[in-house]
Amino acid sequence: MQIEGFEYRDVKVAEDVSLHTAIAGSGPAIVLLHGFPQTHLMWRHVAPRLAATHTVICPDLRGYGASSKPADGYAKRTMAQDVVNLADALGFERFALAGHDRGALVAFRAGLDHPDRITDLTILDVLPTLDMWEVLHGVDATVAFHLYLMAQPRPLPEQLIAGAPDAFFGFFLDLWGITPFDPEIKAAYLQASREAIPSIVADYRASASTDIDHDRADRAASRTLAMPTTVVQQDWGAALGFDAAALWRPWAPALTHRTVTSGHFMAEDDPELITEVLLAVSRN
């Protein structure tokens, strides 16, 4: 599957790492980063609309989809460097950056590490890694079982997931959305995830260790996101007993926070809304 009207390139961003990237349009650049358990295809409804006014760049993250899957290098800091290198390779000094889920964690890290490169940041449906671990408590914390499972040492999670990959990845695709996925796109996500088990687990394992350390160091140093930041989230703070906007504000002095009623897969549940959010960011 491809995003219609997009050109595909494998762009080298590091030694032995190329990102499989869909590109279309012209004008200011916006990079869109996908989440778990997905690929760049999650932007298939939003990206063509943005391409009318922007150069739209949709890579598969390192370790996902048709991008390289090295054994190591899944700290969000490394994955954020991939994104900056991708923009370099495509000739964009500055760019808008939007991410969903895992991609939003990469975007968050890129915003902190590369403030001079990113004009605007849009974050879809995550908390920063450090805050996420801090809000999990009590019996409600079982909702994040995949974080705990994939935090376990190699090769336990890899082997358990490999024993029934479609049951595992399909669980999230079925649970987190509102509109069920069409069989064709669901099959594409399942196949891509099935072929990326070690790297997906490595991405999550990094978020249980290295990524927390990086967030903590930034918090201690009062480093914040220098660019306008828009965060769009479901209201799961209500269920877990926290105020998402209050958790985001210390990280993003120029914060626009929106709570929406769409499901987690909001760029697919409600592409009009997410397109509108991204165009509004660019207008301001």
Partner: protein, 307 residues
């Protein structure tokens, strides 16, 4: 009563007699041995009555020891999964065992439970104070306290609590996909079962491994944990709110090398609000203390029961 279908029973249970006991919900598998005041032994996850093989004979010198498989485990009946997980609640599992003791003619008895069996044992003491004379729990704090104090560090350390409590059939399918990975990397590698090969003959480890390839056994195990994340917590919270406490003397044993000291410091502090008479000790063992250190575990239990 003889001619039990249980096979692979370690020689240590040689003096014990096999029983199949009818309760209102189903048939409970048991072995009974020794003489003296009655003592019920309940096993944990993911095991069966076999886990008491080295401890029970020592206890049988002074007690009539009843060792059972809890509903869903071993060769006991498997309750059908129920909405709300009542069928696998510790309340339901405890009632089965009270009926077992009644069938054997014991109205009042002591109970010792390890791990999930410890949860059934303390629930029994709360629900049936007239039947339980003494309570020993091995390497647990109450379910309600586990969750009330759970943070991300605990959720990661006890990842199987969240995992097994997921809606059916996800954990069932992931375990079925690679039961050996689950047993070797989680049960053995993480929980520490079978570290000393002298204590754990291959035949015994095979007996613990085998249920993980049995869909009904895995389903029951998951339902036990689903109840543990829902209805069991409600029962504990209600008792706490209404000030119900354990009326009999309580012995708490915990593994010095297990997770309790790491997460709770002194586990007795967690238990004290639950009972007036609380005592306990750390055992120099892994979580599977009754098999790692049967002499020491039996010694603590005998001292407590004889006191």
């Amino acid at each position: 009563m003889h001619g039990s279908r249980r096979n692979g029973l370690p020689a240590a249970f040689g003096g014990f007699e096999a029983h199949r006991l009818t309760t209102r919900r189903g048939t409970i598998n048991a072995v009974v041995g020794g003489s003296g005041p009655p003592l019920l032994l309940l096993h944990g996850y993911p095991q069966s009555l076999l886990m008491w093989h080295a401890t029970a004979p020592r206890l049988a010198r002074r007690h009539t020891v009843v060792v059972t498989d809890m509903a869903g485990y071993g060769d006991s009946f498997r309750p059908a999964p129920s909405f709300g997980h009542e069928a696998h609640s510790k309340r339901a599992l405890a009632l089965d065992q009270v009926e077992v003791m009644d069938r054997l003619g014991f109205d009042t008895f002591a109970v010792a439970g390890h791990d999930r069996g410890g949860r059934v044992a303390y629930r029994m003491a709360l629900d049936h104070p007239g039947h339980v004379s003494r309570l020993a729990v091995l390497d647990i704090v109450p379910t309600g306290d586990v969750w009330a104090r759970a943070d991300a560090a605990l959720a990661r350390g006890y990842w199987h609590w969240s995992f097994l409590a997921l809606p059916a059939p996800l954990p069932e399918r992931l375990i079925a996909g690679d039961p050996d990975a689950f047993f070797d990397l989680h049960v053995r590698g993480q929980l520490g079962l079978g570290e000393d090969p002298e204590r754990y003959p291959l035949e015994l480890l095979d007996a613990y491994r085998r249920p993980l390839t049995d869909p009904g056994a895995v389903e029951a195990m998951c339902e036990d944990y689903r109840a543990g994340a829902t209805i069991d917590v409600e029962h504990d919270e209600l008792d706490r709110a209404e000030g119900r406490r354990i009326a009999c003397p309580l012995l708490v044993l915990w593994a010095a090398h297990g997770s309790l000291p790491r997460f709770y410091g002194d586990p007795l502090d967690v238990w004290r609000p639950w009972a007036a008479d609380v005592r306990g000790a750390a055992v120099d063992a892994s979580h599977f203390m009754a098999e790692d250190r049967p002499e020491e575990t039996a010694g603590h239990l005998l001292a407590f029961l004889g006191a």
